[in-house]
């Protein structure tokens, strides 16, 4: 059977790292227990093995496309939406009151990882439906909720987020889609949205767009953006559906995620596109951020999942492919000997280790972020603010590191297969294409880095950074109690200090009023900080593994825990030292990228 994830690692993160069953002490999650979580992730794996993974390649080979005014997608989309609707998994984290299951986000993320790793073209359709329904439930009037949410939860209707316009991608303050108030309290919409995922297909009776636009005469910039619900088909009094003047103008043909449609939508071409306000006027972007923050975690999770699938595929290949011979003492090779399998070549092992180190830490980081979400919303009152700030700070990293380093990891996986990696007989080339989008949508790496350094690091006087540093310190302290982990604890300690001094150094530009210089190399700062955050995850995993080994209180095999310590060492030898290069760049006096100071460049 094809391997795309490691269930032991998921159980380790859920139960041994995050103690997921302690969430059941919260009033909201009292109907769950550890066994329910285990049954859920095992059943998800069963479903993904049977119905999702086998369609991965086929959906890539039969991409979504535009034909005669319609978007054609693989029939699996219909089956998957129906399954998720019947199963209750769309809106599984929602309140009971809204037909949800009150599943902890931590567990939802584990489930989400499994399905994304099996087939990353399918879950977006339901993920966006869930995100859109979540926005409605949070901000819309009870009538609108009643009208739309139940059908979305059943997987009968799809949902989207409509932000991007041709002239406004990263810069949403420049959107021009306009809403004209009508006497009955509704609005008429005019405008275009591009790159809309899941924007149209035949397997949903209706598509519910959550769209940002400007009410006629609203102030310029983000302060004039409002949020609307715009159905593809409006709902008449008797429940029947009629066209709402949302025209599908095309589907973008992409290098990856080809089974997941990306549409161009035109609203109000015939002056008959109705919309209803969700939340207060001019508060749209702020409200939309609720969906975007969730979606950012989802994108990070998808990236981690594609990287995971690639890792397991290349690991399997490396164990089977005979090629070359090991170098023996004296530097000779015995050509009479049978060829060795490539997993025995140190350079191949290095690539596999890199994949393992990136993938497993990404999964633990993303589940940690979801755990912060649970604790920020439903944990003990006095801890909520702390977890809220940690979540805010971690979100851009949890989106970006898996997207960027996941891609590097998949590239290493492809390299493990040699020339076969480049060919369609193996899934690596698809994974390589599929993962490339992650660093682009939901805010590019550049935009995430601006968010990290420009907002999150300094918010509330650096309060979130203080919380995170405390988390580092606590892990370092626990690791120090094991002699053989001490050197790594020391290494993380000094890395954390270097991050603090680098942040201080950059802040001097901001304090001098040179804000552009402050954030000019935000992406390098992101690279440095996320490397340290991942090192922290590894030290944490290694400490838990060591504790299990020493106490003999092992749930998994002994070798599983030993492997965790080993991979932590790999990370600290091969990856963490790269922060020195980032630090060098960030402390350099040279200013080479700000146009005015560098007019010679690109002239």
């Amino acid at each position: 059977m094809a391997a795309y994830t490691d269930m032991e690692h998921i159980r380790f993160v859920l139960h041994e790292m995050l103690q997921a069953s302690t969430l059941c002490e919260f009033e909201r999650y009292k109907d769950y227990d550890k066994e329910a979580f285990d049954i859920l992730i095992d059943s998800t794996k069963d479903y993904a093995d049977k119905f999702m993974y086998p369609l991965l390649k086929e959906m890539d080979e039969q991409p979504a496309h535009y034909k005669d005014g319609k978007i054609i997608v693989h029939p699996a989309v219909g089956k998957f939406m129906k399954y998720c609707g019947e199963n209750g998994s769309i809106g599984s984290t929602f309140d009971y009151e809204h037909g949800g299951m009150q599943l902890p986000h931590t567990v939802y993320s584990a489930v989400s990882h499994i399905v994304q790793a099996a087939n990353n073209a399918l879950p977006g359709y339901t993920g966006l439906t869930q995100g859109a329904a979540d926005l409605l439930v949070t901000y819309a009037s009870p009538e609108l909720i009643e009208k739309y949410v139940p059908k979305m939860m059943k997987g009968e209707w799809g949902g989207t987020m409509c932000l991007t316009e041709p002239q406004a991608g990263s810069s949403l303050s420049d959107i021009t889609t306009t809403a004209y108030p009508q006497e009955d309290g509704s609005y008429k919409i005019k405008g275009q949205k591009i790159f809309i995922s899941g924007g149209d297909h035949e397997y949903a009776d209706n598509i519910v767009h959550l769209l940002i636009g400007r009410i006629e005469g609203a102030p310029a910039g983000t302060k004039g953006i409002s949020l609307f619900v715009v159905p593809k088909k409006r709902i008449n009094e008797d429940g029947s559906l009629e066209s709402n003047d949302v025209i599908t103008a095309g589907d973008f043909q992409k290098m990856g995620q080809r089974g997941y449609c990306t549409t161009h939508l035109v609203f109000g071409e015939n002056d008959d596109c109705r919309a209803w306000l969700v939340g207060a006027e001019n508060r749209g972007l702020k409200n939309m951020f609720q969906m975007m923050n969730g979606a950012r975690i989802d994108v990070g999770l998808t990236a981690a999942s594609v990287a995971s699938a690639a890792y397991h595929a290349s690991l399997q290949y490396a164990k089977e492919r005979p090629q070359g011979r090991r170098i023996q003492a004296g530097g000779v090779k015995n050509t009479n000997q049978e060829q060795t399998t490539i997993i025995n070549h140190p350079d191949v092992r290095r690539m596999l280790h890199l994949q393992e180190a990136v993938t497993e830490a990404c999964i633990s980081l993303l589940l940690t972020a979801s755990n912060y979400q649970d604790r920020a919303h439903f944990g003990p009152e006095e801890e909520r603010q702390k977890y809220h700030e940690l979540l805010e700070l971690i979100t851009p990293i949890a989106k970006t590191y898996p997207s960027e380093m996941g891609r590097v990891s998949v590239s290493n996986g492809l390299q493990v297969l040699g020339g076969y990696g480049f060919c369609q007989d193996f899934p690596l080339e698809q994974y390589y294409r599929d993962i490339r989008i992650m660093a682009l949508y939901e805010g590019t790496t550049g935009i995430q880095s601006l968010d990290l350094l420009g907002r999150k690091v300094i918010m509330n006087n650096g309060s979130a950074m203080k919380h995170l540093t405390k988390e580092f310190i606590s892990t370092i302290k626990e690791a120090t109690s094991f002699d053989d982990l001490k050197p790594y604890a020391e290494q993380l300690k000094s890395a954390s200090k270097e991050l603090a001094s680098t942040t201080q150094h950059l802040l001097t530009f901001a304090m001098q009023g040179d804000h552009e210089r402050y954030i000019a190399d935000a992406t390098v700062y992101m690279e440095m900080m996320s490397n340290i955050v991942i090192a922290w995850q590894w030290l944490k995993m290694a400490t838990i593994a060591k504790t299990a080994l020493v106490s003999g209180n092992t749930i998994q095999s002994t070798s599983f825990y030993e492997r965790k310590v080993h991979t932590m060492k790999f990370y600290f030898k091969y990856e963490l030292p790269k922060i020195a290069a980032c630090k060098h760049t960030l402390h350099s006096e040279d200013n080479l990228t700000i146009p005015e100071a560098n007019q010679v460049a690109f002239s």
């Binding site: 066994e35 059943s43 479903y47 049977k50 599984s92 092992t554």
Partner: protein, 246 residues
């Protein structure tokens, strides 16, 4: 229609199998356990289908320690109404059959299902023993089963064909592939499982008259030889000279 489904816990199909204690005991270190697939996919699912069509209820029974609750709860999540765990180490097939028979005696089940075998020790024994202990008819390895009133028609795959058997309830049946299709528990089922009764019963005094003296592994040095598919002569030579199979 009252149906009892006997379920056991087995190692996951991909688990690494090792033995300890001088090769007399299975080493459970690091092994994940699942519900025996024949019990889950075929026996339990068919039982549920029958009660969904004809009314009635499905109870799960397992003989084992409290750690087995995880597996039992999966059965509840799939749809069983309630479950009974008989609290004892399942030391042998006869011991397990005696426990289940003692429990089932007073409950008057119309049908008692087992899987055709458990995928760990492959004994195929428990079903037949329960039937004997309860003095009920036993149909083994059934690959399909239809019910009309209290008359059941079952099919068994036999060498060269199919045997069709008819009998009235009550009876014991062991379910083989074909009986039903795997049902993956859905979220609602999983949530409801926690609220369903999982009763714990005390075991009857019973002895095991057998003990395992050794588990022997298949020799690991059997190498795989790849042969050019065009080269039939080489295949025949190898089968004849090396494998000595022909």
């Amino acid at each position: 229609m009252k149906i009892l489904v006997c379920v056991s816990k087995t190692p996951e199909t991909t688990a690494n199998i090792n033995f300890t204690n001088n090769n007399t005991e299975f080493d459970t270190n690091g092994v994940s356990f699942i519900m025996n697939p024949y019990d889950e996919w075929y026996a339990l699912v068919r039982a549920l289908e029958l009660t969904e069509a004809n009314g009635g209820s499905v109870t799960i029974v397992n003989v084992g320690p409290s750690i087995n609750d995880a597996v039992i709860k999966k059965g509840l999540a799939i749809g069983a109404k309630d479950a009974v765990r008989i609290d004892a180490e399942p030391t042998s097939a006869l011991f397990v059959a005696k426990q289940i028979a003692a429990y089932a005696k007073s409950e008057a089940y119309d049908i008692i299902f087992t899987g055709k075998e458990s995928i760990d020790y492959n004994g195929s024994l428990v079903g037949g023993m329960i039937a004997e202990l309860l003095d009920l008819p036993y149909i083994s390895y059934a690959s399909s089963m239809e019910l009309a009133g209290s008359t059941a028609t079952l099919q068994r795959e036999i060498e060269g064909g199919t045997e069709v058997v008819q009998l009235d309830t009550p009876f014991v049946v062991s379910a083989a592939k074909g009986m039903a299709e795997q049902r993956i528990p859905n979220m609602r089922g999983i949530m409801m499982a926690k609220k369903k009764p999982l009763n714990v019963a005390t075991a009857e005094a019973a002895q095991s008259n057998e003990k395992v003296v050794e588990f022997k592994e298949v020799p690991k040095d059997r190498a795989i030889k790849m042969i050019n598919p065009e080269d039939m002569a080489e295949l025949v030579r190898l089968l004849h000279e090396e494998a000595k199979a022909i």
